[in-house]
Structures are given as structure tokens and as C-alpha cells.
């Protein structure tokens, strides 16, 4: 364990954990849009920046992204200094200029007192804030079906060559993890559509209820050694089956 001071309070943190984890454990609310426990920290949205210093730094202070900064013994952290708040305000103002219609951004910006961007609205701005969560989770899951293309202000998230991505299995993790709900998909119980690709859903042989996509099941069978017949029925039917099997064993016991 290491000892750190957060907003004047001495707390203990686990070695190797990031500052953000320690700060959130103290129930201090600091925003972060590109952070998710499922993937490695990235440091792109810069909202979780905090001020750090140490006694031996002779008054020198630094601003770091807490999601990426490993805790250190003796670290003195301030999460809401005027500069830090000003920084978050500016960043949210900039996000708002790029994604003026995003409810998530608008809500967060309003919390910091920004209701209207003070900058020029970006022409053709979208709700995508390029946090990279979708591509990172897709990489982490082993598909790497989508990635960031171009750079700078023209950067966007897209499947290769902007064609339906061959490596996508339609698991929807990207859509779920997207903080601004920008990634769109449809699912009518028969087919699922995302990134311009169509996926057939598997259905429970007993109830007819849809489960996951054929491609996803195939991937799990091949790469995670899940027996293929597990996917024939859905969870409810699995439970019913288990109840009947156990019921039968119990009944035998009774009869004996």
C-alpha cells in the first residue's frame, strides 16, 4: 500500500493502481469519457486531469491525467483546483463545439457551467468524440474490426476501407461502450445490423428467442473452446433443462 493525499485527506492506495481508481474510491466525482475498466487507460479526453505535487518538489506542480498516472508514495493530489476546473471547462467547451447535439456532452458541460460553446461550431460535427473506446474494446476482444482512420481534425472511426468489416461479429460491445451513444445498430430479433454489415441471430430451439449472432458463437466455439451445442438453446431453456435433470435425479433418490 502507498500513502497519498487526495484533496487534503490522507488515504491509502494499492500499489500499481492508477490515481483515478484511488480518487473514485473516495467518492470524488471527476469526469472521464475515454475510460473503461475493460480496456487499458488511454488518456485521450483529458477530463480526468488533476494537479499533483509532492513535498519534496519545492512547490512545483504538474497536471496529469489521473487515469494513466500510477499512484506514488507521498503524492499530493488536488482534483478541483481553479486551473483544473478551468481546464475541464475548456475541454467540455471544445467537445461541445464538435458535438453540439450530444446529450451526454451537453449534460456534462452544463455541470461545469457551459451551456453553449464559446467557439465556432465544427461544420458536420458528430457525436463521436474520438475517445477510442470502441476500437480499443474491439482490439481487446480480438476482432480489430474497426479502427481510427486519418489524423488530426479529420480523424474518424471506421471499418477498413469504409466497407462492411469482415472481422466484425456483431457483438455490439462498441455500441455499448460508446460514451455518447454515437455508434448505431438495429436488431429486429432476426437480424442485427452494425457498421453496414448484417448478422443473422441464433434462436433458441425451444423458445424461439434470439440469442447472439452466428458469427459471435462461431468465434467462441473456435477461439474459446465453448462446445457448439451450448448455443442451441437460450439461458432460460438451459435452466429449465438443468431443473428437469436434477429433478429426475432427485426423484430416483425418492423412489429408492
Amino acid at each position: 500500500m502507498v500513502n497519498i493525499t487526495i484533496n487534503g485527506k490522507l488515504v491509502q492506495a494499492y500499489e500499481d493502481e492508477m490515481l483515478l481508481t484511488a480518487i473514485r474510491r473516495e467518492n470524488i466525482d471527476i469526469p472521464a469519457l475515454c475510460h473503461h475498466e475493460a480496456v487499458e487507460p488511454y488518456g485521450a479526453c483529458r477530463l480526468c486531469m488533476v494537479e499533483i505535487t509532492k513535498d519534496e518538489w519545492d512547490g512545483w506542480k504538474n497536471h496529469v491525467t489521473s487515469c494513466l498516472y500510477p499512484v506514488e508514495e507521498g503524492l499530493i493530489v488536488n482534483t478541483h483546483t481553479p486551473t483544473v476546473i478551468e481546464l475541464r471547462k475548456t475541454i467540455l467547451d471544445l467537445f461541445l463545439a464538435g458535438s453540439p447535439r450530444s446529450t451526454v456532452i451537453r449534460k456534462l458541460a452544463a455541470e461545469y457551467g457551459v451551456t453553449k460553446t464559446s467557439y465556432e461550431e465544427v461544420p458536420d460535427g458528430t457525436d463521436c468524440i474520438l475517445c477510442g473506446l470502441c476500437t480499443r474494446v474491439c482490439d481487446k476482444m480480438g476482432f480489430s474490426a474497426i479502427s481510427a482512420v486519418n489524423r488530426g481534425h479529420g480523424k474518424e472511426i471506421a471499418p477498413p476501407l469504409n466497407e462492411p468489416p469482415p472481422d466484425c461479429v456483431g457483438c455490439l460491445s462498441c455500441a455499448y461502450i460508446c460514451p455518447t451513444r454515437y455508434i448505431k445498430f438495429t436488431d429486429d430479433g432476426k437480424t442485427r445490423k452494425i457498421w453496414g454489415r448484417k448478422f443473422k441471430l441464433l434462436h433458441c430451439e425451444k423458445t424461439g428467442q434470439p440469442t447472439i449472432t452466428e458469427e459471435f458463437a462461431r468465434y467462441l466455439v473456435k477461439n474459446r473452446q465453448i462446445p457448439e451445442d451450448y448455443f442451441k438453446i437460450n439461458d432460460l431453456s438451459h435452466r429449465k433443462e438443468l431443473a428437469l435433470k436434477m429433478g429426475e435425479i432427485t426423484q430416483w433418490g425418492r423412489e429408492e
Binding site: M49, L94, F95, A148, G152
Partner: protein, 617 residues
Amino acid sequence: MQISTPKQLKELQQKFQDKDNKLVKKIIVCHGPGCLASGAEKIFEEFQQVLSKKKIKGVTLEALKKTGCHGLCEKAPLVAIEPAGILYTRVKPRLVEDIIEKTVKNDEVIPELLYQDPETKKRVEKYRDIKFYSHQTRIALRNLGHINTADIEDFIRVGGYQAMAKAITKMTPERIIDEVTKSGLRGRGGGGFSTGRKWATCRKVKDDTHYVICNGDEGDPGAFMDRAIMEGDPHSVLEGMIIAAFAVGARSGYIYVREEYPLAVVNLQIAIEQAREYGLLGESIFGTDFSFDIQINRGAGAFVCGESSALMKSVAGEVGEPRAKYIRSVVKGLYDKPTVLNNVETFANVPVIIDRGAKWFTGIGAPKNSGTKAFSLVGKVRNTGLIEVPMGTSLREIIYDIGGGLIDGRPFKAVQTGGPSGGCLPDSLLDSPVDFDSLTKAGSMMGSGGMIVMDDRTCMVDVAKYFLSFLVSESCGKCNPCREGLYQLYKLAVKVSEGRAEEDDLEKMEKLSDMIIIGSLCGLGKSGPNPFLSTVRYFREEYLAHIKEKKCPAGVCRELIRFEINDKCDGCTACILACAYNAITGKKKEPHVINQDLCTHCGACVTVCTRNAIDVI
């Protein structure tokens, strides 16, 4: 030919020197980037042909040399005749026969080809008497203009690989690091971090693998120092890297060269193969248990890949995006292994330091800024080119003594140092020394060594706008302050230049700049607002003129200027023909008039007018 002892290397050097001493004359054709662009290859071929046709006693084809950049690119292509030390400028293929006939054969100088001093108008016969050269001290560029490009024999002849032999066979890694630390060598790529300390930290990290990387991703517009070294003297980069590898305990190294430098890749590749052939790269170098090899990686043209962590990602085959360096790359760099990354020029300095000692090196330059720095001097100076001066040399000395002052004797306005994210310094700072700390204090930076001189016809708002637009398009787009912040800063600069800005916009820009500096992830974003901040710091009135009076004093910003024909017009109709928008009317030999509604302020009329009859208001 495998060299296995330092003694063998010495013998080889002697052999190559003897061979060289037999040459009565040397004809050196510069093959630097500027000269190549002006047709140096044609001139070289012409020399080959003429030489093989004419039999001149003692002058064979071996006398002909293809060297790296001489530096005086303004006067390209260059040909030097040694040992007389004559430099011919702006040589044309048709003059080659003349040069051979007169100068090579009969030791006769051709005055028209000599360099003309812009002040005294006198022709300068000797190379070393040219002011451009006499104010320079060349360490990193020591071999450029003297040895054949990518030729290990020539390199060994001038003492190449001796420092490496000394380091590997006579010194311990700790002593090498100590020597480099004591020399005060600081990263020449712009960071200015102590090279010795970097190596020491890397060596201390316990790991089975260490890497050495050479950063040759020189992306600043107008900069070509590293290019000149990689193309003209690749072996000195290799030698520096080998010494570094021995010092930190690395077995493999990478040279990351930007895509736009194909010749650098070719020459480095030749040099690596030659070094392997001579046993200077590979297994058990000099019979020790030290093994090291180098591989070339080509960038794909992204400016941000010059940033160390983005570069390492690119080498590893990932997208070239920087990462936060709270855990430094000397500890966890390429493939998460401890990695030393230095710039081309830094590595080129290392062999000299090992050879001549830290004490000698600290004797050059300024306190805490020892040694020299190479710059590419460009813009509105008379002698544009590649230079190397001791640290602490004043800007005035560089611009006026070496650069020969401004073209047409126009007034100096500003000098931009440090590449796109550097800053513009005004004439009041001309006497300040050029070193890492002074430039940073002045609001600019050393950067990798670009130096752009601007005259009074340059609008500083326009300059800031240009560099911001460069940075906006070169930002990797990972973090918000750099991607969105610089974009908005650029948009505001456009607003100023178009006369749409209000006074509080300036304040807004300054505030935004502060936040971009604090908030950005890597050096590109953190230094991104510099073009704006330095120009607004020294040229605030110019910004205010755009905002309050809606005027561009330098007559550059199109939206704020007006072209008008004055009474000098003699009605030659040249401007009428040049105007693509039919905005100019008038009869022959009668004054012409510009229709302001149709004029787009392109300036084509000004360019063609021979009588200075068009005013920019």
C-alpha cells in the same frame, strides 16, 4: 574484410590515407539535397565523361568525389577543387569542361564561378575565406563535403570508427556514459535532455533486452539537418549508435527515417551493409562479446511520429499515436523494453566526444549548452543553407554574418526557430544567444534546428495562421486539447486575419492556448500554441491593427488589403493580361483601373508590374 582489432582498423586507415595522398587533385561535387535538386548528378556525370576523355596527368576518375551537403545551398550546385580549396557556385554541366581545362589542369581560377560577397561585391577565391563558412564550427557535420557519401573506406580514412574501437576495447560502459554526461551533450532533436543521463537511466533498468533508436523523422518544414547527415555521412550515425548500444547494453537498434527521404534510406542501408561486411556490426564486434545490429524503419509521413512514444509505436507496427510518458521510454519504450532514443545529430556528435573527450567538447559553446548545433537557415536571407555554429552564437551573427543579411537589404522583422511549434523572435532579441534555455525563455524553442528568417513584408498573423494550420493537420487527433483546441485556435487566427475578430478574441486565444499547453498529451500539443503566443507577445500591435483598424500592415492578409493603381502606370496592359478575374480595365498607354468588386487580391498584377505602379493598401 573483417576488422577484429583496433590495430587492424588503424592499419586500414593508413592504407586508405596513402591511397588518398596519391591523388594530386580532388574534384568534389556536392550531393546534398539542395545541389541534387539543382542537378548535381548531371554535373557529376559530365565530369566523369570529360575526365575519361581527357587524359590529365595524375587526375583519374578517383579524383572525383560525391560528398554530402556543403551547406551553401543558395548557390547550388557546388563544386570544390581540393587541395586548393576553391569553391565554385551555381555550376552548370556546360561549364564542366572549362573547369577541368582551366582549374584542374592549369590551376587557373574562373572568377565568374566564385562566390561573391554580398556586401563587398568581391569574389572570394578560397572556400574558408567565405564568411558563410568562417563563422561556423562543424562537429556533427564534420565530414560533410569531405568524404564520399556512404563510403566506408573514405570514412575510415578520416578516422571513422576509431572512437567506437576505443569505446568498446578500452572503455567500460560506465566510463562512456560518464564521458558523455560530462560533455554536457543535450538532445539535438529539440528536447535538450542530457544524453548521458538518458543512457545512464536506461542502462540501470534491469532487463534482458535494451534498444537503441535513432530518430530520423525530421518533419519540420524547411529543416534538413538530419537528412544531410543521413545522406552524406551515414557512418557517423551508425558509429554513434554502436557506442550508445555498447553503453546501455543493447543488441539491436533501429533507425526511423521518414518516408520523404528515400536517398537517406538508400545510403544508410549501404552503410549498414558495409559496416556488417567489415565486422563493425553483427556478432562479437572487435572480438568482444558485444553484438549489435541495426535495422531501418521507414515512417509513413506523419509529423507526429517524430515524437518519441509515437515513433516507438510506429516501429512496433502500431498506429503512430503518442502515449503519456509518466513511465519514461528509457524504462519502458519499444516493445515495453528500456529504450534509448536519440536524434540523428546527437548520435553524430557522440564519436567526436569519445574521441576528443568531454573536456574538449565543453570548451565549445555556452555554459550548460556545450557543443554546436546545426541549423537549416532558410527564408529571406541571402545565404540559405545548412550551417553549424557553437551554442550561444547570437541570432545576429547567424543571420547577418553567416546568412549574409536579408535579401535585397530589406529590414529584418522576425526569425522563426524551432520548427512549426517554435516561435517568432523580433529584432530586439537579435543579440540573444542561441541555446536551449535562452530560446525557451524568449518564448520559442531550439527544436530540431529550423530557422526561418522573415522580412518586413511578412504578416505575423499570417505566419501564426500558417503554422497553426500545419499543426492542425499534423496533430494525431488522439487528445482533445490538441485536436479540437488547436483547430479552434486556428479558426480564431483566421478570424483575425480576415478582420472579423473582436478585441476579446485575443484574450480568448491566449486563454485557450494556456489550456492547450496544460491539457495536451504530448509535445506536439503542448508546444502547439507557440506560433500564436510568440507572435502575439512580440507583435501585438500587428494583431490589434487587424482587429481594430481592420488593416494588415504588411499587406499580406487578403481580406484586409486593397490593390490600387497609382500614377506611375504607363498603360502597358501587362496587369490586364495577368488578371484572371478581368478586374482591371484601361486602354493602352492610359492609366488602368482596378474594379474592387471583382478583385480577389491574388497579387498577380503586382508580380507582373515592372513600374511599381500597384499599391497595396
